[in-house]
C-alpha cells in the first residue's frame, strides 16, 4: 500500500469531519439529532474530534417518544454529562397532549411516525437552521439519493425531484428565512464501516447492542422486546431469549436478533457475515415499499 493514501475508515472519517466543520461555519444554529443509536453516537464522536480541544459546539436534540428503552435514556444522559454538551429534548407525549399528534391504535401501534411532528416543532422552537443526522445512504433505497446537505422547505419537507446537485465537496448552504437543512456526514458509511469504526475507536455504546437475556415476544418473523407499550395478541406469549439489537428505535418497533455476540469483535464479524439488512427488523419500514420515502417527504430524518 502507498504511503500517502488513507485506508477507507480514515478517508470516511476525514470526509465526515470536513462536513461537520462546514456545518459549523455555514450555519448559525446547527444541532445534532441524537437518537441514542450507534450512528448518532458515531456522529457525536466525530463532531467532538472535529473541534477538539473545544467542547462539543452543537447541542444534541433528542426526540423522546416516551417509548424509548430505559438503557437508551441512561446512556444519553451519561454522554451529555461526560461531554459537557447541551441536550434539547422534544417530547412526543407533549405533542399528543397538545393535540398535534394522534396516537395510533391496534397491535402495531407505534409512535414512530409522530416523531416528525415533534421534531419539526422542536427545530422551529429552537430556531435550528441545520440538523445533522447519522443517516447513511446504504440503509434504505430512498436514502441512496440523499445529499450531504439536504435542503428542506419551511415545512421541513424533502422534495426528492428538486434536489440541488452536489459537486466535489463544495456545499451550498444558502436558504431563505424559515427553511432549514438536514446534513448527513455519514452518508458514505455502511453498517459494517460503522461497526469497524466503533471497534477501532473503542466508542462506548448502550448495552442493548450487546447480547443479553431479555423478555421478548415473537411476532411474525420479528422478535420484539416485551414492554408495557406493546399490545399483545391473545396467542402471543412472553419468553426469555438471548438477543441483541442491530438498530435502536422505539421499544414497540425495534426488532431484536438472536445473538451471542458480547464483544465488539463478535458484532463486527456478525455484521460482516449476516444475510439480512439491519432495517429488516424494523417494523416501520416494512409497512410499504415506499414507507421510508413517504416519511422523509414529511420531514422524518
Amino acid at each position: 500500500m502507498d504511503k500517502y493514501i488513507l485506508e477507507h475508515l480514515e478517508e470516511l472519517e476525514s470526509e465526515a469531519i470536513y462536513i461537520i466543520r462546514e456545518v459549523m461555519a455555514d450555519f448559525d444554529n446547527p444541532v445534532i439529532l441524537f437518537s441514542g443509536g450507534k450512528d448518532s453516537i458515531v456522529l457525536t464522536h466525530l463532531a467532538m474530534k472535529a473541534f477538539y480541544p473545544m467542547n462539543l459546539p452543537f447541542p444534541l436534540v433528542h426526540i423522546d417518544t416516551g417509548h424509548n428503552f430505559p438503557e437508551t435514556i441512561e446512556f444519553r444522559d451519561n454522554l451529555v454529562k461526560e461531554m459537557g454538551a447541551n441536550l434539547i429534548v422534544g417530547s412526543v407525549q407533549k405533542s399528543i397532549d397538545e393535540g398535534k399528534a394522534q396516537e395510533e391504535s391496534g397491535y402495531n401501534a407505534s409512535r414512530n411516525r409522530m416523531q416528525s411532528i415533534t421534531l419539526l416543532d422542536c427545530l422551529e422552537e429552537h430556531k435550528v437552521d441545520a440538523a445533522m443526522g447519522g443517516a447513511r445512504r446504504d440503509e434504505e433505497k430512498a436514502r441512496a439519493k440523499e445529499r450531504f446537505f439536504s435542503h428542506r422547505d419551511d415545512f421541513g419537507q424533502w422534495d426528492p425531484k428538486n434536489q440541488r446537485p452536489e459537486l466535489w465537496h463544495l456545499f451550498n448552504a444558502k436558504m431563505n428565512f424559515g427553511e432549514q437543512f438536514r446534513v448527513f456526514p455519514l452518508s458514505n458509511w455502511t453498517e459494517l464501516d460503522i461497526w469497524q469504526y466503533i471497534a477501532k475507536e473503542d466508542i462506548p455504546l448502550p448495552s442493548l447492542y450487546y447480547s443479553h437475556k431479555r423478555k421478548c415476544i415473537r411476532r411474525g418473523n420479528a422478535i420484539l422486546a416485551y414492554s408495557d407499550y406493546l399490545n399483545l395478541k391473545p396467542d402471543e406469549k412472553v419468553e426469555e431469549i438471548q438477543i441483541r439489537f442491530r438498530t435502536i428505535g422505539d421499544m414497540t418497533i425495534t426488532g431484536a436478533v438472536e445473538s451471542n455476540a458480547t464483544e465488539i469483535e463478535d458484532i463486527v464479524n456478525e455484521v460482516a457475515t449476516t444475510r439480512v439488512t439491519e432495517r429488516n427488523s424494523r417494523a416501520d419500514d416494512a409497512r410499504s415499499e415506499a414507507a421510508m420515502e413517504e416519511r422523509k417527504k414529511e420531514g422524518y430524518f
Binding site: 500500500m1 502507498d2 500517502y4 493514501i5 488513507l6 485506508e7 477507507h8 480514515e10 478517508e11 470516511l12 472519517e13 476525514s14 469531519i17 470536513y18 466543520r21 462546514e22 459549523m24 461555519a25 474530534k49 472535529a50 477538539y52 480541544p53 473545544m54 467542547n55 445512504r137 446504504d138 430512498a142 441512496a144 439519493k145 435542503h151 426528492p160 425531484k161 434536489q163 440541488r164 446537485p165 452536489e166 459537486l167 466535489w168 463544495l170 456545499f171 451550498n172 444558502k174 436558504m175 431563505n176 452518508s187 458514505n188 455502511t190 459494517l192 464501516d193 477501532k200 463486527v268 464479524n269 460482516a272 444475510r275 439480512v276 439488512t277 429488516n280 415499499e289 415506499a290 420515502e293
Partner: protein, 424 residues
C-alpha cells in the same frame, strides 16, 4: 471473495467510481451483478426484488431492480438522479455514483464524476460506440477522472465475437485521442451472464486481460491526488477558551494538495504573512505530516490573523490569486444562464459573488466542436466562459488540482446550485 473476510479486513483503500451508459445497455444489471456477486445484497433485499420480478411477470430475478431508488422512478421505470451504492471486497471498499443515462442528464454525470477516481462506461456490443459513449467519455475527461474502464456489454448477444470487440476498441481509441485521460482499459463482458465480471469468462478465451472486479480492486490510485503543491484552505478556527488549553489556537481544514510537515515554512494567503508549522493536530494526536484528503488542524509558530477562506500554502509554492477566471462551465438549471448574469460563487472555503463576462464558446459534447457567438446557456450546456469575481480567489487550474480548481455557482434569488465549473 466472501464478505466473511471483510469483517476483519480494515486496511483497505476506498475507490470512488462513476458509472454511465445509455438506456438499456445493462448498467443497472451490471451494478446489481457487482453487488450480488460481492455478497453485498442481503436476503431480504433479494426477496423483495424476486417478488417484484414475479409481479411484473419476469421468469428470472431482475438484478437491475436492486438499484431502483425512488417511488417516482420505480413507477416510470427510469433513473432520474445520481444514486450512490456501496460494496466491498477484502481488497477495497467501493462507492459507486450511479448516473442515469438519459440524454438530458449531463448534469448528473458531471455531479457523479466530480468525486470519482474512475469512470466505468458501458457500451452495448450490438450498437458499438454511439454519441452517448462519446459524451460520457468526454465528460469523464473534462472532469479529469484519471482512469476509464470501458465495458463492452452484452457480448453474449454477439456470440462473444472477438472481431466485434476489437472493432469497438479501435473505434473508441480513434475518438479518445481527443481526450486527456491517459489510462483507458477495455473489457468484454456480459452483465446478465456474469462473463468477466467476477469470474473469467469461459466463452471468451481470446481475452487475456483481467476481470472487471480484478481491475477495480487493483487499479493504482495512489498517485491520483496532487502531493506536490501544498494547499490548506482554512474552514474554521479552533480556540477552546479552556484553562488547560489556554493558548491553543489552530486552524481546522482539509489538506487539498501536497504534504504538510511540522516545521515547514508557510505563507497565509491572501495576507501574505509568513510563519512556520508548529504542530499538526488530529484529535489528541500530533502528526509529523498530513496529506490529502486528511482533516487536521494546523498550529502556527506566530500569532497572525487567519480565518475561514484563507489558505495556508508552502512559502515558495503559491496558488494563483485573481478576480478573473477562465472556466469550463456546465449549466445545470432549467432556467437559461444569461450573459452578464450575477451569481454567488463557491470555491474551496470561499464564498464571493461573480458575473459572467463573456461566453467564449460552447462545446458540442457529441462532436467536441466549438460553437461561438453564444449568448445564453441552456441546461446541460458546457461552455468556456470568463468570470469576474468581487474579491480575489486563490486557485489552481483544475488539471493541476481538482480541489482548488473547482467552483459552483449559486443563484442569488432561488439559492439553487445552477452551475459547476473547472478553472482552466
Amino acid at each position: 471473495m466472501g464478505k466473511e473476510q471483510v469483517g476483519i479486513e480494515q486496511n483497505s483503500e476506498l475507490l470512488r467510481f462513476v458509472t454511465a451508459g445509455s438506456v438499456d445497455d445493462g448498467k443497472s444489471t451490471l451494478i446489481g451483478r457487482l453487488l450480488f456477486d460481492s455478497k453485498t445484497i442481503h436476503e431480504d433485499q433479494l426477496e423483495a426484488v424476486a417478488q417484484t420480478s414475479k409481479k411484473r411477470g419476469l421468469d428470472h430475478i431482475d438484478l437491475s431492480l436492486l438499484t431502483d431508488g425512488l417511488k417516482d422512478e420505480r413507477e416510470q421505470g427510469i433513473t432520474i438522479d445520481v444514486a450512490y451504492r456501496y460494496f466491498s471486497t477484502p481488497k477495497r471498499k467501493f462507492i459507486i455514483a450511479d448516473c442515469p443515462g438519459h440524454i438530458q442528464y449531463t448534469r448528473n454525470m458531471v455531479t457523479g464524476a466530480s468525486t470519482a477516481n474512475l469512470a466505468l462506461l458501458l457500451i452495448d456490443a450490438r450498437k458499438g460506440v454511439i454519441e452517448q459513449t462519446k459524451r460520457h467519455a468526454f465528460l469523464s475527461s473534462l472532469l479529469q477522472i484519471p482512469h476509464i474502464v470501458l465495458c463492452v456489454n452484452k457480448m453474449d448477444l454477439v456470440d462473444y465475437s472477438e472481431e466485434v470487440f476489437n472493432q469497438i476498441v479501435s473505434d473508441f481509441k480513434n475518438f479518445a485521442v481527443k481526450l486527456e485521460t491517459k489510462d483507458i482499459r477495455f473489457i468484454p463482458i456480459s452483465a446478465l451472464e456474469g462473463d468477466n465480471i467476477v469470474d473469467r469468462s469461459k466463452n471468451m478465451s481470446w481475452y487475456n486481460g483481467s476481470t472487471l472486479l480484478d481491475q477495480l480492486e487493483t487499479i493504482h490510485i495512489g498517485s491520483d491526488a496532487n502531493l506536490i503543491d501544498c494547499r490548506f484552505p482554512v474552514q474554521t478556527v479552533i480556540r477552546p477558551h479552556k484553562k488547560e488549553f489556554h493558548d491553543h489556537r489552530s486552524y481546522a481544514g482539509r489538506v487539498e494538495g501536497g504534504i504538510f510537515k511540522k516545521g515547514d515554512k508557510v505563507m497565509v494567503m491572501p495576507s501574505g504573512l509568513e510563519s512556520t508549522i508548529k504542530a499538526i493536530h488530529a484529535y489528541k494526536e500530533e502528526l509529523k505530516e498530513a496529506f490529502p484528503p486528511m482533516s487536521v488542524s494546523i498550529e502556527l509558530e506566530d500569532d497572525i490573523d487567519v480565518g475561514r477562506g484563507d489558505m495556508i500554502v508552502r512559502l515558495n509554492n503559491q496558488p494563483n490569486q485573481s478576480q478573473e477566471l477562465d472556466v469550463m462551465l456546465c449549466w445545470m438549471n432549467d432556467r437559461p444562464m444569461p450573459l452578464r448574469g450575477k451569481f454567488g460563487i463557491r470555491q474551496t472555503t470561499r464564498n464571493v459573488r461573480c458575473a459572467i463576462q463573456e461566453i467564449l464558446y460552447r462545446v458540442d459534447v457529441n462532436t467536441l466542436h466549438r460553437e461561438e457567438d453564444v449568448n445564453q446557456l441552456q441546461m446541460n450546456d458546457i461552455a468556456r466562459v470568463k468570470i469576474r469575481t468581487t474579491a480575489p480567489l486563490l486557485w489552481d487550474s483544475y488539471s493541476k488540482n481538482r480541489n482548488t480548481g473547482s467552483i459552483i455557482l449559486v443563484d442569488e434569488q432561488t439559492n439553487e446550485t445552477v452551475a459547476a465549473g473547472m478553472i482552466i
